[in-house]
Symmetry: C2
Subunit: 195 residues, 2 copies
Amino acid sequence: MSTAEPTIVTRPLRADAIRNRAKVLEAARAAFAEHGAEAQMEDVARRAGVGVGTVYRHFPTKQALAEALIEERFDRTIAFVRDLLDEEPDPWRAIERCFEYCAATQERDRAWAAVLALMAGGTGVMGPREHQMRQLLALEEQMIGRARAAGVVRQDLTATDMPALFCALASVVQAGGRNWRRYLDLLLDGLRPQG
Amino acid sequence: MSTAEPTIVTRPLRADAIRNRAKVLEAARAAFAEHGAEAQMEDVARRAGVGVGTVYRHFPTKQALAEALIEERFDRTIAFVRDLLDEEPDPWRAIERCFEYCAATQERDRAWAAVLALMAGGTGVMGPREHQMRQLLALEEQMIGRARAAGVVRQDLTATDMPALFCALASVVQAGGRNWRRYLDLLLDGLRPQG
DNA sequence: ACCTGAACACCGTTCAAGT
DNA sequence: ACCTGAACACCGTTCAAGT
């Protein structure tokens, strides 16, 4: 039972540092959701009511700050898919709802959409999130397995197809705003059993 | 017979200005293909063997320079699709080759992929290329029309579906490097007549 | 131990001086 | 009329001084 990251021994943070860290994350959520990758560190600091130096004390680079937010999103997505496997009896509908959830969250969070639009490669952006990525893929493997067993998706569909599909959907959502539904319909039809 | 842009009366350029403009474009092609949107103006100037000021004299902003390159790509793509309509007798194969051409060019040109990955919205990035976009869509309308008539694509497919599909493909190519083929297969199957 | 914000670095853009 | 490159602006990042 080990995570991918090396274990770093850290003393507990001082009370004010804990508060500041939370304020920075809260401010960053708003700034990145609104402006995507163009969000500015100075703006994050202002929204949080701290100096820029404090932002950098908690997160060494803008990239690192963005990744902390991405990590939260990943966890929520993993939780959502896990619930879906429990609650949704229709195996096809589960897949559909999974994509719809992704599109809907991306619509409200430009940073999340931008990251997903670049993740399919596995290289670069996704390196640090590899552990979560594996968790998510394992859940999707189950989801797809059920659908295959029920004969509602093409037999050659696997979880390894999913990153590219989420990547594709993300860029459509990011670019097109609210009319991603039609694209999603075409995408989903490509996953159906093929004549 | 009018283009979208207002007519601007320009005296002919001086001979050295013509040469410099060409050198800048040439240098920009290399720089943007290699680095995408992160290409640097200083680097373009250096590759062209001119001062930065000269780059700015011919193209008012980095964005404008990038757009000039995009315009070239658009023209080549339009020419390619036009030829395809003449040369490719199989209506399904024409659609397939159109997507393959897009993916292949995007693989060699990061800037082109980046722009396409953001174009589906019609807003923003595509504004200045609206005229070319319309030309391209008109050709795709023909391409899809033939395919519909031959019954090899779903009857509800239209040219207006294409921008989102190219956008999606672009982000997969941009992110995933060389394994876009599988994604394209799923995409194409979504365009087939649906049972 | 943590915070602050002025200072530094980098890159897009401008403009005074040159041909 | 066009070219050049030093100077300016903006934003990510650092660090000396403060509590």
